[in-house]
Symmetry: C2
């Protein structure tokens, strides 16, 4: 049944354009093509294959058993805000006040709220692309305009041309979205690049919406990627949008956080109040356990992703049909296939012929249209099999 024949179809035209024109996910289109295929190896979503660890689940169950099922603090329970401050202090080697942290109902909600804090109708936000499509979509739903700056791609590696980024800034620009390590490209800003980006923010008085959710997933042995925390002052215009989804395999829990100037506390509380009115206490207890007991788990996850990265990058290179560089950070391999520029068609073909689910580059905006994204946060045996299937299919395509 198509939408136009459903009850209410005549009313669609009366809805607000910001809502009506929000794009459908380009990944979901390919997923819908392959969702029910037996034996398909799904590497199209930014999600691992492991359910959430027991020590996290137990904290939620204990909270439920204790009857923590009532309304709670809109900014998050104090214990979780303090745990976030402690986690940041350990990771970045500097003190953090719990007053800088605001619990949200997902990294996505963090983005939604931060976009609305700084931009609305008439405003622009600049995004290096290819990028997670939900940034541009959330900006559009807020009535602002996403301005995409395609990154440069050479020999499988993306680089961000800071002059090109600076040239996209206009008097209407209110913010830059900086995702490092980046989904889907694996691009990871150096400390010098972070400093240069911050200098742009200071020069133009514009915000940085910093998505550093993959900051733990780097493969050179260092404990984390460079961060705006390494170069900024507390008074800089940086809003961090964060999630528990990736580090702790909690995609299905819908919990994240915003890190922002403490002075924004009441404003962010109000924005949370008028969008979802807080997060469940039992989910917050699980998140607190993740922060306070989760370091060994994260270490395992990173080791697993590192092995996945090796399997995938070596296996795909062996086809002699692809152009790629193993990513510096995050847990995606982005690659192009020689002679194949229509990634949507190719992703559908690989569902049919390799029984492997990949995300088409078309889903990520300008600059990535010809590539494919593969999530390697998965057990090695699946990845070995997926690579073998892709080798076979690409040899015949």
């Amino acid at each position: 049944m198509t939408t136009t024949t459903l009850p209410g179809a005549r009313l669609i035209a009366e809805l607000r354009p910001e809502a009506r024109n929000a794009p459908e996910s380009g990944i979901v289109e390919v997923m819908n093509h392959g969702r029910l295929k037996p034996g398909l190896i799904p590497l199209w979503v930014g999600e691992g294959d492991l359910p959430t660890a027991d020590f996290i689940v137990r904290a939620a169950n204990a909270s439920l058993a204790a009857g923590e099922t009532f309304y709670t603090w809109q900014r998050g329970v104090p214990e979780l805000r303090q745990a976030l401050a402690d986690y940041h202090a350990a990771l970045y080697g500097q003190p953090f006040s719990a007053e800088r942290f605001f619990v949200t109902g997902s990294g996505m909600q963090s983005v939604q709220i931060c976009v609305r804090l700084v931009a609305g109708p008439g405003d622009e936000i600049v995004i290096p692309t290819p990028a997670w499509p939900n940034f541009a979509a959330a900006i559009g739903v807020a009535g602002a305009k996403a301005v995409c700056v395609p990154m440069d791609l050479a020999e499988g590696r993306f680089t961000l041309d800071l002059d090109k980024l600076a040239a996209a800034i206009t008097p209407k620009t209110r913010a830059l979205v900086i995702n490092s390590p980046a989904n889907p490209t694996g691009w990871t800003a150096t400390r010098d690049e972070m400093a240069a980006l911050l200098a742009l923010s200071r020069k133009h008085g514009i915000w940085i919406i910093a998505d550093e959710i993959y900051g733990r997933f780097v493969y050179d042995g260092s404990p984390r990627a460079a961060s705006f925390h390494d170069v900024m002052d507390e008074e800089d215009r940086v809003l961090f949008v964060q999630t528990f989804s990736k580090n702790w395999a909690m995609t299905g829990w819908r919990i994240g956080w915003i890190e922002a100037p403490a002075a924004f506390g009441q404003i962010i509380e109000n924005m949370i109040q008028y969008s979802t009115s807080g997060s469940p206490v039992f989910v917050q207890r699980a998140a607190t356990a993740a922060l306070t007991e989760g370091e060994p788990y994260i270490a395992e996850q990173i080791a697993r992703a590192s092995e996945g990265r090796r399997i995938v990058s070596e296996g795909l290179k062996a086809t002699n049909r692809v152009s790629l560089a193993a990513p510096v950070g995050a847990f995606y391999q982005f690659f192009t296939v020689d002679g194949r520029s229509d990634s949507r068609a190719l992703a559908i073909e690989l569902v049919d012929n390799a029984n492997v689910g990949l995300a088409p580059g078309t889903a990520f905006g300008p600059g990535g249209e010809t590539g494919l994204r593969l999530c390697f946060a998965r057990k090695s045996s699946d990845l070995v099999e997926a690579v073998a299937r892709l080798q076979g299919a690409l040899a015949q395509s």
Copy 2:
């Protein structure tokens, strides 16, 4: 520490006015005054005193144990959408398609999304007041204008003057918010009033955002209040904003739903995707259990509220200092105190002198400034004690 001295205070002026100007809750101000008082009986929030029932918690535990911790359908899991359709069919005596139901991360998120579907900058939404303040606030955050129409108050009972409501409709009006049974007034539309409101929607081509979350809480022995479902067609401009919070004592779970024309499916999916990206599966399993096994529980809750209503209305009347009528629906007693028109000051005074927490009418917009709201969804012994304390304090005030 005041906000102006916190790091980042100088940046507040750069934030969007829709965010910066979102109001702080007028209830929370009084709560902050009394939050830590030993022995205070808190009747200021729309929440009962019972934790969520075991049969609901167990469904969440089982889902977590089964590893349901991954991303899921943006519109809600199919089983819950079907359970919603079945629940509605039983309650309203007519068939419902599961395609009309969209799971959200709270009734508040349902309001946020429905407001954004129909209104933005330049648009107006009309609200009879006093009303739940989050309606007007969410409209403001969306960049639209809330137009309040004060209800008439006589002998403690509120009535909605439909001519006054109609007179507030302008070419900019995009929707009416109709909350029946109403928080905080207890006003409950008759079927004829529902039909008249729907006629206004049809005549002007404007939407009704229908909040019928208290529809089960009526005290005349009938199974539910009148509903727009009793008078509308599937093609009418009615969007229902709903929650699991009240019927099933699940305030802390943050789960609700939207009921809308099935043709809006992809648009609502996108709005969910770009605000919170779905609700946890284990929370959805709990909600499914609530719908399918919860009728005896709801019957108990209503019986309990009915007793609470009697205790409170009779006890307050006995003071000979108040003006009130026992509410037709919902679980709040709204009342005014003779000679006292400053409800904010009175609410703070009653925290200090009666150790009872009430919500000041000033929190609910025009028309309710002089009254107080008392939530009676609570065990009888608490309510008996609260009424005794209020009697004592009012005798001396």
